[in-house]
């Protein structure tokens, strides 16, 4: 008996090891297959919370991909919408999602580059918009990339109208602030209120009618002026522009040829 105790004491560490390992292997056995204990698994509140937080953080890393998917989906939805509209208006529009790969916003002549080119059917003169409103017009087309002249470029000349009464004006940019543009050619007799919505007029084949441009921020009419000086807050925030859609009007070439024929 004494000998046995001696042996047990001598090997007590090894015995503890064996007992613990047996317990661990029993746990592995219990764990496999189901049902597993809800406390000692990811069903546990604390652990589930941790996993949720981690997946939340991981979600941020896939945001870029998610954004691309959403941009594609937006373009697809707009295409479906334009298919419905074309029955009524006769316009045949197609939207192609594109990503902004480079842009300037602080210069007089700002430009932005998008990752779609001639192989995607992009042509010079096509309009570009995003979910908020008008972005600009395609100026130069490469095979895979295109350069777009945004409305925040002092060369811009965009035909717009008031949403409330279809009165037409021309949008220009003064080169100062990327959030604001000027609406000109609005005669003094027109009543302009702060917050009036400005949309595209649809008079050029570049943009279909009704794309949001901005809202009136303020309007100045000095004694003796015959035109308003209207400051428009643009819907599109160019400093945050990431995804755009190029508007491809299937009748654009025909419309331009007609216009040229008149000159």
């Amino acid at each position: 008996m004494q000998n046995l105790l001696k042996i047990l004491l001598r090997y007590s560490n090894f015995l503890v090891f064996i007992v613990l390992e047996v317990a661990a292997f029993l746990l592995i056995g219990f764990n496999n297959p189901y049902p597993r204990s809800s406390v000692l698994s990811t069903a546990n509140q604390v652990v589930a919370w941790q996993h949720e937080q981690v997946s939340e953080i991981n979600g941020y890393f896939s945001l870029r991909h998610q954004n691309e998917l959403l941009a594609e989906e937006n373009a697809a939805l707009r295409n479906q919408l334009s298919a419905i509209d074309s029955v009524q208006t006769g316009e045949a529009l197609y939207y192609a999602a594109a990503k902004v790969v480079q842009m300037t916003t602080d210069e007089q002549h700002n430009y932005l580059t998008i990752n779609r080119g001639s192989k995607d059917g992009i042509q010079r003169g096509q309009g570009v918009r995003n979910g908020d409103g008008v972005v600009g017009i395609v100026r130069t087309v490469g095979r895979n990339y295109s350069v777009v002249m945004p409305i925040i470029n002092t060369h811009t000349n965009l035909s717009c109208r008031f949403a409330k009464n279809d009165y037409i004006g021309t949008l220009i940019w003064d080169g100062k602030n990327s959030r604001f543009a000027m609406l000109t050619d609005v005669a003094a007799h027109m009543v302009v209120n702060q917050g009036d919505t400005i949309i595209t007029s649809g008079l050029s084949p570049v943009f279909p009618e009704g794309i949001p441009v901005g809202t009136v921020e303020n309007s100045v009419l000095k004694e003796g002026d015959s035109y308003h000086t209207i400051r428009v807050r643009l819907h599109t925030d160019f400093k945050r522009l990431k995804y755009v859609e190029v508007i491809q009007n299937k009748h654009q070439n025909e419309l331009e040829e007609l216009n040229h024929g008149l000159d």
Binding site: F14, L20, E21, A23, A24, I28, N31, V54
Partner: protein, 164 residues
Amino acid sequence: MDWTKQIGRYAIVMLLQVLLFNQLQLFGVCHPYIYVMCLLMMPITLPHSVDMVIGAVVGLIMDVFCNSLGIHMSACILLMFLRPYILGVIINDKERLTEQINQQTIGLVPLLKYAAILVAVHHLMVFALGAWSWYHIGFILIETLVSSVLTLVVLLGYNALRYR
């Protein structure tokens, strides 16, 4: 040995393991378990059996987070069981064992030898038990090698910064 410090170190390293290193997805073969560095660096002052119980608890906590009940536990128990023997073989001067085990107290090369053996054993056990068959033995060995190297890099990096 300062127990609050020791427990705080465990908490930080386990958090790092769960929040950062468990999320690593490098070619499917890289799963470093850096939390073993706490077990490895613990001083050998407690009775051997108590050490093994600590290993079991730490492993069990890790199992709960990895949804692998028993696997880390058994690997950690084995690690804590082998620890004093490996250390006894690698360094002769038993006097120094009362302190925390790091680069300063036992030297870089002995630390590397000691950690490499035990980390490899621990990782091999975790991956082998996780696969639960010898069919994937080649993959398990690669996984063990890659993950052990990364764990060792973290361990030695920490030592290099903390105990120069």
